[in-house]
């Protein structure tokens, strides 16, 4: 195997696929990046068996072949190479890398051990404009469970509907529901690993482009430019999220509040140190009344804080305790200047939606449901 490649192209490809290189040290071969040189194209591949990435770049291939080298090392090396042409040649188990008047020789791994990447057999299912894709992944991923106790909750439940994608996450304490348009037809639903979706969103930089989606039975392919990401699907039955969302008649009050003002107040309230005995979560008491939202936190032997925020309010006065982090997570990923908080009671779910024009709650592009904390005396 022999080829010439530009450092910039190398870096672009390696930077993309290195995120799929396994860090778990289970199979040594998964710590490698595979490079296939064929028909003046180089394909870079990596997989941790959860996701697989492939990136194609142009090159001047003199002799076709395949090589696998340590991903982490190769990424660091490419970053440090001088700009310009780099020549690669594989002889036996050695890969020689030549640049300027210098050369490096490294040992490579056995390409036959590298797992084959899933092949795309289905037709393209549709495409999602990148700004929409980035928004729904960012807004949904916050409520996914970070532990693996119940794998389904660590994923994003994704419904590909007629011209609309719905993403739902929950860690049993809160639930995020996001909607966005796509060019595609209704298909089955999937639970996709949150981490992989975040990686794809990270690669999707060009706001003018779209993410091309190909749905297969046990995996989903996402193509962004010359990068393809294949993700495993989490198996399991996702709970019916529609059952969880309160029906219109259950809401007893609602307010409109400035998002940034609320974020700042919550951040200050959450700063009071907590201890293990009383629980580490940052409990903040929220009291809604006419024209005023009062936030307070009281940690015995430490201190207390009270903030008042003007709001426009209708309905019954409510006093609830919330974990400040759960409220902040949602407020921080929203875009609108004001948000609407709708409440069903003191110890029952509250929801946060953007303050924008839409007919009914079901049409909101983003709905965040959060349960209060129960405080007993």
């Amino acid at each position: 195997m022999k080829f010439n490649c530009q450092k910039e192209d190398l870096l672009y490809a390696v930077q993309a696929v290195v995120r799929a290189v396994s860090t778990k040290n289970t199979l040594p071969i998964l710590e490698g990046i595979m490079i296939c040189a064929k028909a003046n194209k180089l394909s870079f591949r990596a997989t941790d068996l959860e996701m697989a990435m492939e990136c194609l770049v142009d090159a001047d291939v003199l002799e076709e072949g395949t090589v696998v080298i340590s991903g982490r090392y190769f990424y660091d090396l490419v970053k440090h190479l001088p700009f310009g042409n780099v020549y690669f040649e594989k002889t036996g188990e050695q890969l020689t890398i030549e640049y300027d008047q210098s050369h490096i020789s490294v040992h490579c791994l056995d390409p036959d051990e590298f797992p084959a990447l899933p092949q795309m057999e289905e037709d393209i299912s549709g495409e999602i404009p990148i700004p929409i894709f980035r928004r729904i992944v960012r807004q949904s991923s916050i409520a996914a469970a970070t532990d693996e106790v119940r794998p389904i909750f660590s994923g994003i439940y994704t419904q590909f509907g007629d011209n609309q994608i719905t993403m739902v996450t929950t860690d049993t304490h809160r639930l995020a529901l996001c909607k966005g348009g796509w060019k595609g037809k209704a298909a089955q639903t999937y639970i996709l690993p949150t981490h992989t979706m975040q990686e794809i969103a990270r690669l999707a930089i060009n706001e003018e482009e779209s993410v091309i989606v190909t749905l297969s039975k046990n995996q989903v392919f996402f193509a962004i430019g010359n990068i393809i990401v294949v993700t495993r699907v989490i198996n399991g039955q996702y709970p019916d999220y529609k059952q969880v969302l309160p029906t219109e008649n259950l809401f007893v009050s609602q307010c409109v509040v400035n998002r940034q003002r609320l974020i700042e107040a919550l951040e200050r309230a959450a700063l009071l140190p907590r201890d293990a005995i009383r629980g580490k979560s940052n409990v903040v008491k929220l009291a809604w009344q006419k024209d005023l939202l009062t936030l307070s936190a009281d940690v015995p032997d430490v201190g207390r804080i009270k903030e008042e925020i003007p709001i426009s309010f209708q309905g019954k006065e409510i006093v609830s305790n919330y974990n400040a982090k759960y409220l902040l997570d949602a407020l921080r990923v929203m875009d609108s200047e004001n948000v609407v908080m709708r409440l069903t009671g003191d110890n029952t779910p509250g929801i946060i939606v953007p303050d924008a024009a839409y007919e009914t709650l079901a049409d909101a592009p983003y709905t965040y449901l959060v349960l209060p904390m129960r405080v007993r005396v």
Partner: protein, 411 residues
């Protein structure tokens, strides 16, 4: 200030047997043993008198073995209420000298008597005489400058004696003793120490902290600190309560449990008491631990987290049973079960509600269980209980809860 502390460790000699002799003077001087009931399969020697000890009766012996080594042995059933009463009377004597009286089980106490006019030895002698004169029981007392050596001293001369271990003599007195004499050096640790040729307490000192850290971890270093006489742990004041870390309840069954239904009943029964104790202490459990002993005394322990902290006997029992069902293979029938509520948190700690849990329903159930608890406290434990617990549970009748051994507040 640490080096001139004066700490006594007072140990009531043959406590259960002594109380029995107090109550029935005819037993004095005879070979007496307090034993569990053979019928309930608790048939082992719990305590013995001085003469039974001389005849070779050991604590933990099965009743018939004890009869074999000492044919004229008089065996008596335990009377825990009496023991508790006398334990308190002895403690009242100690409290005349200091309020820093830390009990260790029913028959042992540490006393911090630092800073007094009289010496530790004089005080110990006075206490020894007072206990004998007022209650007719004997104590052996260790006098030293830390709790560990005081405890060790009380074991050296028995009965009715005082041993002083001070800065001038502890090297000769303590260091030649086997490591097993040291508090916290359990059977496993002693065995492991022996394999490294660490036989005496002095050997631990010589081995040094690095060696102990390497082979025994943090607790090893602690042993080294104890061995060289640098223990600084305090004698807790009389009203000190060690924070509750777990609440458990276990039972050895009258006959072996043979199937899941029998196990479920016992687990549910044990959980009733745990729920009650959690409620009394204002605690919620975030986990459950189940220990299972089969009829060959093989021992297994399982544990699981509970998502929403609870004090409900039913929830605890269900989790414990789930652990049992998903782990136990029924190769052998079961002799003993222990359910333990673990990862305890205060009831008043704010708790995140869950989307998939119905709070209204939970509150109704809590209210119901609270009511059941109130009914029981007024009309007795058996005034209201789950119907499945009617009939034979293979559990010993009238089990008296053993006074749980409270470990001193050092570790």
């Amino acid at each position: 200030m640490q080096s001139n502390r004066v700490i006594l460790h007072s140990d009531l000699n043959c406590f259960y047997a002594s109380v029995e002799m107090m109550l029935n003077p005819e037993l004095r001087g005879k070979a007496v043993a307090v034993c569990g009931s053979t019928k309930d399969r608790h048939g082992i020697v719990l305590a013995k008198s001085e003469s039974a000890k001389k005849a070779g009766v050991k604590t933990g012996m099965v009743n018939w073995q004890a009869k074999l080594v000492c044919p004229n042995l008089i065996t008596l059933p335990p009377q825990y209420d009496q023991y508790l009463k006398y334990s308190k009377l002895v403690r009242d004597i100690y409290l005349r000298y200091t309020n820093q009286v830390e009990p260790y089980g029913m028959d042992e106490c540490w006393l911090d008597v630092s800073g007094g006019q009289t010496t530790g030895l004089e005080l110990a002698e006075e206490i020894r005489k007072t206990v004998r004169e007022e209650l007719g029981m004997t104590v052996s007392i260790g006098v030293s400058f830390n709790k560990i050596f005081a405890k060790l001293g009380s074991d050296l001369k028995k009965p009715d004696a005082v041993t002083v271990i001070d800065q001038s003599n502890f090297k000769e007195t303590v260091w030649r003793l086997p490591v097993s004499e040291l508090l916290y050096a359990g059977r496993a640790t002693v065995k492991k120490l022996k394999s490294y040729r660490v036989d005496t307490i002095g050997d631990i000192v010589k081995a040094g902290p690095d060696f102990m850290q390497r082979h025994f971890g943090k607790n090893g270093v602690q042993l080294w600190v104890f061995a060289k006489g640098s223990d600084t742990s305090q004698v807790m004041p009389e009203d000190f309560q060690t924070p509750v870390k777990s609440i458990g309840h276990g039972i050895t069954c009258i006959s072996d449990l043979q199937n899941n239904t029998e196990v479920w009943k016992v687990i549910l029964e044990l959980s009733q008491d745990i729920g009650h104790k959690l409620r009394v202490n204002g605690l919620l459990a975030r986990g459950v631990q189940l220990s299972v002993k089969d009829n060959t005394l093989g021992y297994r322990q399982y544990q699981a987290q509970i998502e929403i902290a609870t004090q409900s006997p039913m929830e605890l029992a269900k989790k414990a049973y789930f652990l049992f069902e998903s782990n136990y293979s029924w190769r052998l029938p079961i002799r003993a079960l222990t359910v333990r509520a673990i990862n305890l948190v205060s009831r008043t700690r704010p708790q995140q509600l869950s989307i998939f849990d119905d709070l209204a329903q939970r509150e109704r159930r809590e209210h119901l269980e609270e009511t059941i608890d109130i009914i029981r406290s007024r009309f007795g434990k058996r005034s209201i209980y789950p119907a499945i617990l009617m009939g034979d549970l293979k559990m010993p009748s009238n089990t008296v809860l053993l006074h749980e051994l409270v470990m001193p507040g050092v570790l």
